[in-house]
Symmetry: C2
Subunit: 302 residues, 2 copies
């Protein structure tokens, strides 16, 4: 049995548009309705036939839904929840895909205290944004983390879990605060570091921008990929998951100072020991299917 028959997606960027495509690919009888606050995005979504219906208002998108998934940046979640409050059917399940959960859940709860809320964060993405960047297989083999608040109806949780399994994701459940800590280290800190180093490289006097770009294959270009991610979404993530991000940043800075000291004092053993340990982490990620074993991410060399 299908977990849902009428799914509404609010926010048609990379994740929302991938979700629409994935549902239509895997469950073609589900009716998919979409809405985006941007008229330009709505027009593109209609042109590329992203959903059965693209509505001009958020309210009109949800009136008939049995699942509503909010796919907007974390900072916009509360306002969108308010927008749909008058039209959301009482029996509909509300979900959202934010990369930081505690503050987003609180913002939604404030305007929709009685909605059945089952957040589901798919740990997947690319550096591209917008309705044309999405694709149906984005979630296959990736993890989707559900963070239902305590006391959430278990049938509702099971239905959302079933939806994501059908899209090819593995599903895990966590409490929101732990989710935010895990994502702070596996996603938010890496993005912050990447944004920082790309900014640093861009601002030097002794090395020109043109040199940075020409010789980026030495390692720098790897960082530019995630530093090309959506600025609005990432601004919101860092502000919304402030405490966990600052905690991870503190750890990172301590570790970096430790290495800095090892370099300054010529302590090669400290460097060598760390560099040997980090190699093992890469091996585990490949063994568990979370990255490709092909060298250089499988980039073409020709």
């Amino acid at each position: 049995m299908l977990p849902f028959s009428r799914v509404t997606i609010i926010g048609l960027g990379l994740i929302g548009s991938s979700l629409a495509r994935a549902i239509r690919a895997e469950m073609p009888t589900v009716r998919v309705t979409g809405h985006d606050a941007s008229p330009d995005v709505r027009e593109i979504a209609r042109r590329i036939d992203l959903a059965d219906d693209i509505t001009d208002t958020a309210g009109a998108a949800v009136t008939d839904a049995d699942l509503v998934v909010l796919c907007v940046p974390p900072g916009a979640m509360g306002a969108v929840a308010a927008d749909i409050a008058a039209d959301l059917p009482a029996e509909a399940i509300l979900s959202e895909v934010a990369s930081c959960q505690a503050s987003v859940i609180a913002a939604i709860r404030e305007v929709l205290p009685n909605a059945t809320l089952v957040p589901a964060h798919p740990v997947a993405g690319t550096e591209n944004s917008g309705p044309e960047a999405g694709f149906a297989s984005l979630f296959k083999g990736r993890w989707c983390i559900l963070t239902p608040p305590e006391g959430t109806d278990t049938t509702a949780i099971a239905r959302v879990e079933e939806l994501w399994r059908r899209l090819g994701a593995d599903v895990e459940t966590m409490d929101p605060a732990h989710h935010d800590l895990v994502l702070a280290v596996t996603s938010h800190l890496p993005h912050l570091i990447a944004y920082t180093i790309v900014g640093t490289a861009n601002d030097l006097e002794g090395v020109t921008q043109s040199e940075v770009i020409k010789y980026s294959a030495g390692g720098f270009r790897d960082f530019t990929r995630i530093a090309a991610s959506d600025p609005t979404m990432w601004r919101d993530v860092f502000l919304a998951n402030k405490d966990a991000v600052l905690e991870m940043l503190q750890r990172f800075s301590e570790d970096l100072s430790h290495l800095q000291r090892a370099i300054r004092w010529g302590d090669g053993d400290t460097l060598f020991d760390l560099f040997t340990r980090t190699r093992a982490v890469r091996r585990s990620i490949i063994e568990q299917g979370q990255d490709d074993a092909a060298p250089d991410f499988g980039r073409a060399h020709n």
Copy 2:
């Protein structure tokens, strides 16, 4: 005309073995001789037919060469130069591929003050190591930076340049100190940051190693690739290019503190402005052919 007819490669890891393969692929009449300090590596090199001859000593490898390329870690360059000093023909050109040049050139000069030295650093690589990790097309479309010491014979420089062009590389010439500064930002700092963050993530109490690996697709896994690079080589690079690396690290730390403060005080504009600028850097790298335009580095999603 071929720039060289008898090329010797000392050190048959990723770069040395790729160089052997590339020369045989592009200039099949050149005689390639190889040597590696490790008997295991020599055995593999013979088994996979990496060169026309694999010698048991470094000295035996160079006696007949018109070009000798040292492809060993920076910290081993001086010792290898000493090893070949007695056998290096007076008219042979000596080259090396180190990622940091000033200290390596000094170490070689100390034992071979009169050799014609034309260092050539190909800005290319993968996270894999060893004679079986190399491939002939590694240098195609990448930059190779020559850093000949002042007063080097211009014909020698031109011949080394011609060799790398024939292997598919674009060639640039820089003075060694500037090379080391450029590489500190485009390669050494990224590697140091990647090693650090992978170590940080590995050492947390609140988040398990298993969670870090499962949810690594949120960004972390990108860092694990370069943090899987050869520990010996990278230890040597950081120690050999200490001053430039520490300078870049200082810049990076200042910029990171600036962002940390923006997050703490909820200054979204500072974050948004940086995240918009960094996007443009990625675009330039793709436009200039230094990375693939395919989302997510072209990783398979299925």
